[in-house]
Amino acid sequence: MTRTASNGRKPPTAGGRVEVRKTYKLYLGGQFPRSESGRSYVVAATDGTPLANAVRASRKDLRDAVRAARGAFPGWAERTAMNRGQVLYRVAELMEGRRDQFVNEVAQAEGIRDDRAREVVNRAIDRWVWYAGWADKIAQVLGSSNPVASDFFNFTIPEPTGVVGVVAPEVSSLLGLVSRLAPPLVAGNTVVVLASESRPLPAITLTEVLATSDVPGGVVNVLTGRKRELVPVLAAHVDVDALDVWGVPDDLRKDVELLAADSVMRIARRPAGVTDARFDWLDDRASERPEWIAAYLEMKTVWHPIGV
């Protein structure tokens, strides 16, 4: 494998030293396992140059990931909102320190120039900051005190839905992923991500950041592999509460949503008329939306009598 993509970038090799290559693995329950299936697939740059072998996760890996996410859910949901915000802010801090690595990988994965890749990475870091700040505000914006016409104190508070499956955008390997991953996380959900199938490597590098930040193991689980193999299993899994179908291939979406309906799974879709390929993730206004957080919230209404 040459690992030289169309942008002419070569891995740093100083003085004829042989580079130590990275093995890209799954991120599951806070660990970095290979697939129990022992399978992998070749990931290529946009010009066809092979970049690395990625793990081809199995259905069993996916079920393990859902179990890890379910196990991590109560702890993450019951963190204080401010703490969740700080933990996610720290993801941005650590990405900042590995910016060059991300720029390099995004440039290779997406076949874009370095300056463009730098912009994408900067924006991905800033997006964590934007969403992290919502952690202790969303309840005040979306919750309510309800003036009922009787002697009761009545209020409505948002709570996380539970385990969320995120089928990541296919084209935007890092910024698209971060933009879809942060909203369910900040609300207190735990997540199983199916990374971009054709551009999975930046997602795996992101998991290395997550593992060394304060995000508890199991809160985010990232699988790489074939969407056609894995998405239906995710959609049919009764312990998945909500599903982001953004990155589901269009011809697969109906079947996937049919499976999800069997457990009344909440579905988060792309806005009507928006394609994955043409969506502008650099547009802050379009990608930074409290509605995307609200998609993974349940509203709980409480009634309490007023009396002496």
Partner: protein, 510 residues
């Protein structure tokens, strides 16, 4: 004048002519009083022999001339014939709604839409008794409830959302709320008019038009509501009502020409409706079944709790998606609570829905009565202990005694399945953690009740409960300002309050 005891035998809530021993009247003493019949007058409502569909502002016959009968479940007699919508009628109603949305309603300033909704609210208040009587006759629910709960809530719901119509920009800061377009709405038979209000009021306030299919056993109040729309001079096509069988509802929600689907009903049908919208960009809200836990801690005010438990499961014959059908009682007070509950059950009056003293009216249909009967038989067969007060039931009509099961295991069908009838299953717990575990041990998550005098425990339970509505030291309360809806397989989306508006708008950037 005191009525003769033997003449009113049918009305007595207990068997024999002796009062229950603990009424303080002396053991087995003869009862000194009895309830006289107190029927609500039917004069206030004129039921037409036939009701047409309501499409494009006019009452019309079905395209194939078909009719079906709507039956009074308390007498088993037909009340009226109702036009049975065909798929062609549904398509016509959708076209009318689209036209009205595009040419009139969608362009009308919010403050003008508001005034129509205020008009509707006022007319509903003016005609409230008429609606209450018709609702009780068509659905079987006690007049006490249709008069004091359903109809006032209906009017209030329109009132509440009327005021939102010109204030949408304040509901969604930073965004412009636009109507979705045409809403397809399918509602159940347990609260026919109230569910209509929950669906239509927010839809119209946000600038949508609607095609609504009422349940086939309870179409009459919806068709009387069509008259209200006419009285209010609501523009033609804004509200369309198409009664018919479930296939008509499925045709409506499956239409490529609707933008929004809202359904209240069973989880089984909810899943079919979610499937009907799979792969589309239709907005969807589902309000589905429930198997709510009503949890009584040992420090609770037991007499109040008994009232709450009774209201929780026998309100509207238990035909309530959020009914407190599983009583979880802390083991230390189980004996005392069950005794009080049995005493209270002996005073519940089952019978004529139009009698103002009736607590539990008629089951909505023969099919529903059969389902309740089947599940109660399963409860007995699986080994739970059944208690029913020895009340007399009317000779005709679909009635079922208030029923209490003790010694229930979590695996019993009566503890797992939604019965949708006046049947309470009692389970016990020892610790708060066990109560939470058992309460959440269901695919449903609509509502829950907590009874304790300790405030911090209430809020701890609130946090732990997977339910969209939690009633603390109360049960089955509703209000237009208060969001209602489920977790898990009880559906998604909220109705009521500001959150209820969200289901009927698309948010665009400013």
């Amino acid at each position: 004048m005191m009525p003769d005891v033997t003449e009113t035998k049918a009305l007595r809530p207990w068997s024999g002519d002796r009062a229950p021993a603990d009424w303080g009247l002396g053991d087995g003493q003869a009862v000194p009083w009895e309830y006289a019949p107190a029927p609500e007058s039917k004069d206030v409502v004129t039921i037409k022999p036939r009701y047409g569909l309501f499409i494009d502002g006019r009452e019309v016959n079905a395209s194939d001339g078909g009719w079906f009968k709507s039956v009074n479940p308390a007498t088993e007699e037909a009340l009226a014939e109702v036009a049975k919508a065909t798929t062609a009628d549904v398509d016509r109603a959708i076209r009318a709604a689209r036209r009205a949305q595009k040419t009139r309603w969608g362009n009308l300033p919010g403050r003008e839409r508001a005034k129509y909704l205020f008009r509707i609210a006022r007319i509903l208040q003016e005609r409230s008794r008429e609606f209450a009587v018709l609702e009780s006759m068509d659905s079987g629910k006690p007049i006490k409830e249709s008069r004091d709960v359903d109809v006032p809530l209906v009017a209030n719901h329109f009132w509440y959302y009327a005021g939102w119509a010109d204030k949408l920009e304040y509901a969604f800061p930073g965004r412009v709320a636009k109507p979705l377009g045409v809403a397809a709405q399918v509602i159940p038979w347990n609260f026919p008019l109230l569910m209509l209000a929950w669906k239509i009021a927010p839809a119209l306030a946000a600038g949508n038009t609607v095609v609504l299919k009422p349940a086939s056993t309870t179409p009459l109040s919806a068709l009387l509501f069509a008259e209200v729309c006419q009285q209010a001079d609501l523009p033609a096509g804004v509200v369309n009502i198409v009664p018919g069988p479930s296939e008509i509802g499925m045709h409506l929600v499956s239409s490529p020409n609707v933008d929004k689907v809202a359904f209240t009903g069973s989880t089984v049908v909810g899943k079919l409706i979610q499937k009907a919208t799979a792969g589309t960009n239709k907005a969807l809200t589902l309000e589905l079944g429930g198997k709510a836990a009503n949890i009584v801690f040992e420090d609770a005010a037991l007499d109040q709790a008994v009232e709450g438990i009774v209201n929780g499961i026998y309100f509207n014959q238990g035909e309530v998606c959020c009914a407190g059908s599983r009583l979880l009682v802390q083991e230390s007070v189980q004996g005392a609570l069950i005794e009080k509950l049995k005493d209270r059950l002996s005073t519940i009056r089952v019978g004529d829905p139009l009698d103002k003293n009736t607590d539990v009216g008629a089951i909505n249909s023969k099919a529903q009565l059969d389902k309740i009967t089947e599940l109660v038989e399963a409860g007995v067969a699986e080994g739970a202990d059944m208690y029913q007060p020895a009340c007399d039931l009317p000779d005709r009509g679909y009635f079922f005694r208030p029923t209490l099961f003790t010694n229930v295991a979590q695996s019993h069908r009566i503890a797992k399945e939604e019965i949708f009838g006046p049947v309470l299953s009692v389970l016990t717990f020892r610790t708060p953690d066990e109560a939470v575990e058992k309460a959440n041990n269901t695919p449903y998550g609509l509502s829950a009740g907590v009874w304790t005098e300790k405030g911090s425990r209430i809020l701890w339970m609130v946090r732990k409960m997977k339910a969209g509505v939690v009633w603390a030291n109360t049960f089955n309360r509703f209000d237009p300002t208060s969001p209602f809806g489920g977790y898990k397989e009880s559906g998604f989306g909220r109705e009521g309050g500001m959150h209820g508006l969200h289901a009927y708008v698309k948010l665009e950037d400013r």
